[in-house]
């Protein structure tokens, strides 16, 4: 079992054994990111393939091995978002007036805990694509609204609106599932 540093230096030298080791070590985790950011399983597989090719191509530019996993995750997010931007042209706009700001006391907090990751993922796939993207980026990958706005070519307030909408819709979906 090679360490991350050994894997990285092997990959820089195009050593196929190190490349395979990297894939075996992080492939499943990265596939999880791909599934969250893709609309279908096939798209996620394509994204995984493209992402690893890009990683092997640009691994020589990685300076700090301690940020390796975060660096790879960013590559997958960037790829997923550039694919999204290619298919959807124009800025993403949400009418703020139409945003629900529910005062409902959300007692279904425990629902997420009861569901498996696959089930939550299925629910998230039912959200409009841009809402799911914002929820993924903000809630799970901890990106700021400023970054999300840049990625999606929209304003920070729109990003906040979409996030709010996404949470409400996800709660509704979970309640319906219950």
């Amino acid at each position: 079992m090679l360490t991350n540093e050994e894997i990285i230096s092997g990959c820089v030298k195009n050593d196929r054994r190190a490349q395979k080791e990297l894939y075996e070590k992080f492939g499943a985790k990265m596939f999880g990111h791909c599934l969250r950011y893709s609309s279908s399983n096939a798209d996620a597989q394509d994204l995984l393939q493209e992402g690893f090719i890009k990683i092997f191509d640009s691994i020589h530019s990685l300076r700090d091995a301690s940020t390796f996993e975060g660096w790879m995750t960013r590559i997958f997010i960037n790829l997923a978002l550039s694919k999204y931007r290619k298919t959807k042209s124009g800025p993403t706009m949400v009418d703020i007036e139409n945003i629900d700001t529910p005062d409902q006391d959300v007692e279904d907090e425990g629902n997420i805990k009861q569901l498996s990751a696959d089930q939550v993922l299925d629910l998230m796939k039912q959200l409009p694509e841009k809402y799911a993207l914002v929820l993924n980026m903000y809630a799970i990958d901890k990106l700021s609204h400023k970054e999300i706005a840049q990625y999606l070519n929209t304003s920070e307030s729109n990003s906040k609106s979409m996030l709010s909408r996404a949470r409400v819709m996800l709660r509704d979906l979970m309640n319906n599932k219950k």
Partner: protein, 133 residues
């Protein structure tokens, strides 16, 4: 409300922190074949650039050699030869003994340069590059 939102965010984060679905095996096979194709292409580019550099170096070397030899050739004006020929009948021609170095340089006659050029062309043609003569 904000507390609820951050709770949902936290729960989502926890839910997916250990989400590691195993990708199908064919994904690595496709990555592997793409990497192989890329490295083959890279090797091809290296071989071609080395071959091209060698060819350029050989041609430049030959051209330099030809220039060098032509500048060392003793050029005798034709008129001077005729004059000498007429004088030859009456007077003894001055015998010019070339220096040892000049003798060596004269060995590269025009014929030998052409022979070398032909050899170079044959070598290049062996490598599959067509030369219009």
């Amino acid at each position: 409300m904000n507390q609820n939102n951050s709770n949902i965010d936290k729960q989502l984060q926890d839910k997916f922190s250990n989400f590691t679905p195993v990708p199908p095996t064919f994904v690595w096979e496709q990555i592997d074949s793409k990497l192989e194709a890329k490295s083959k292409r890279k090797r091809g580019i290296i071989v071609w650039s080395v071959a091209a550099s060698l060819t350029v170096a050989a041609i430049s070397g030959l051209m330099l050699l030809m220039n060098h030899n032509s500048s060392n050739t003793i050029q005798v004006p034709v008129a001077a030869v005729h004059e000498n020929a007429s004088v030859q009948k009456t007077t003894q021609p001055e015998v010019i003994v070339p220096q040892e170095e000049e003798k060596n340089q004269q060995r590269f006659s025009t014929d030998s340069i052409w022979w070398q050029c032909n050899r170079a062309c044959e070598f290049i043609e062996c490598k599959g590059i067509e030369i219009v003569r």
